[in-house]
Amino acid sequence: MAGTPEELRKAGVRQLEKTPMPEQDPQERVRNFREVPFGYTDEMAIAESWRCLECKDAPCITGCPVEIDIPAFIAAVKEGDFRSAVGVIKRTNSLPAVCGRVCPQEVQCEIVCLRGKKGEPVAIGRLERFVADWEAEHGDPELPKIAPPNGHKVAVIGCGPGGMTCAGDLAVMGYDVTVFEAFHASGGVLRYGIPEFRLPKAIVDRETHYLELLGVKFSYNMVIGKVWTLEEMRRDGFEAFYIGTGAGLPWFMKIEGEGLNGVYSANEFLTRANLMGAYDPEHNDTPIWVGKRTAVIGGGNVAMDSARTALRLGSEHVYIVYRRSRVEMPARDEEIHHAEQEGVEFLLLQNPLKIQDDGKGWVGGMECIRMELGEPDASGRRRPVPIEGSEFILDVDCVVVAIGNGPNPLLIEATPGLKVTKWSNIVTDEAGRTSIPGVFAGGDIVTGAATVIEAMGAGKIAARAMDAYVKGDKTWPDLEKKD
């Protein structure tokens, strides 16, 4: 796409559909781990930006969990002023390159976009990604105004998107912030969970570097709770804490055969491939085994990531086995679409009953049953009900279980007085205050598994509350009755 600014404007205004984003050919990309979409060119971004009507009431802003001033950043894109555009985003979102790639825009900012009433909404996510990448390609990022050091020391536990956001905001306010991470690298799920082809690790490194420029310190290999308790950290001078340790305890289906070789939790499968680099055995020592025929159980982004990783590792047939229908799938539209393009086969309304032993301790097949949708359940989605007598055997030799994660217990167990729900999620008020004064929490450890942007929103809210707390507002909620 090329043209004068006026031509681009005209093209954009009239266009009913999103400007397509070029991407690697599906046949080609299933053989590599490089990022799938190439991103917009300057011209594509400008044309797309003209589709934005800059609505006065801007429903997109309220659709965004961190309330990015979307019309304002898009207005800057229209003028080709990409640096200002990224500046607008960074006022409320310190990880735009990440969010532009992994946010479920179709159920947040884009779902309420007026352009979506007739045709497709403005491609807000693609534009966000574009300006963030543009900034990265044009020298050092512009830093926000950082308050002078205020002499207060605070700790963030868990270096996922929520913790990173919280740390960034606190650093800008002048705090001495240290992020403690159990792994040897930053990013949390952005690094161990989301594959390279969807979120290149160079971007996580870039965002980490940006936080370093803001003055955030990182302390890796630190299993807080085990090596250092919150109480000890308090004695060491930390005045407030943000716990963002995430949902890191994989659920299994509790069916026969889950202990067989060839059965992975999605966490194990993806951590081996991503964090430990097992997809590149020439250079990395962590092994991974993938079957010829792989079944991935679940319908979320993690399931899509696992399925597409299995394909890239050489599995010849990859199935998504999901007990509900396509409409109920929690994965982003784009991920489902990409998985389909790449040849992942979707077995919907089917549920595993048993994983069979091949006689040598490895997966020899999976017994499934067909389902139909009944009445809505507590989640509002129609409950899948098994169809009697519809059992069948799926011929697979590898199974990846991607049905979700519970909260990681390590820090909770080591922190007496920290109130948790019956599902072991930390109980907080709306500002992230836990049952222990000075200790805040947010993200998946509080809500159960959710999205990157929701965790970031929680980190942001908590940063404000932590600031108020440290500066003297010691009011603390009574969480006794909350559960």
């Binding site: 159990a182 161990y192 090596v227 890191g248 305890l249 994989p250 951590t271 680099g277 020592d285 085994w289």
Partner: protein, 277 residues
Amino acid sequence: MFKIVSKKVLGPDIKLFDVEAPLIAKKIMPGQFIMLRIDSHGERIPLTMVDRDAAAGTVTIIFQEVGKTTRQLGTLGPGDAVADFIGPLGRYHPMGGEHKRVLGVGGGIGVAPLLPKTREFKANGNRVESIIGARSKDLLILEDEMRAASDELVVCTDDGSYGHKGFVSDILQARLDESTDYDFVLAIGPPIMMRVCRDLVKPYGVPVYVSLNTIMVDGTGMCGSCRVTVGDEVKFACVDGPEMRGEEIDFDEMMARQDRYLAEEKCALDRYLKEVG
């Protein structure tokens, strides 16, 4: 980076390191483990703590060179460092107490994690009887340390090159024939040895503990690679163990799971050996 302060060769392919890790050294308890990664291309491997010196800030580990990672680790020495050293991981179980009678069984490299447990049993006032063994004399480790920590020590080798000839389980059987008046038995070693010991002890109703060294990735409960079936429950060795009651562990499944990456590990080792000549 975590510096290797000292190194000892305990036997063919068996090495001991003191690693500088002051925070962990202050906290780690018998039965707990660390995960280490040599460099940015390395894998994370779990190793159970053998000793610690809080004042010196060091943690002692012992490993046997089996695959690529442990062979590469074995080439390091004082002055070198590993990229990552994470812990303490796993649960700490205080066991026994005054006037309790305890039987510890250690096979092969399993004697290494048994040593700090034995020392702790002794310090807590237990009467400690220990059985340690190895395939042959040169593979037997920590005999003097175990003797000093135990009230009574029996040593055996599979080939009879030192001590009694036979497996540690043979000695265990002989002990149980004499008396079953033990408060508990702790058996640490290769899975097959732990299973045999468990099977011997279980009928007597004496509680039996084992320490599981299953395949792990993160060691913090995140991946489930280390899962074992215990009765009708699934436990994670990394966060529920590594020490566990042994009675209900499905050792058949556990041993099959230990073989998951044999082919990949062999490739990695062959490649490494070719590289280093």
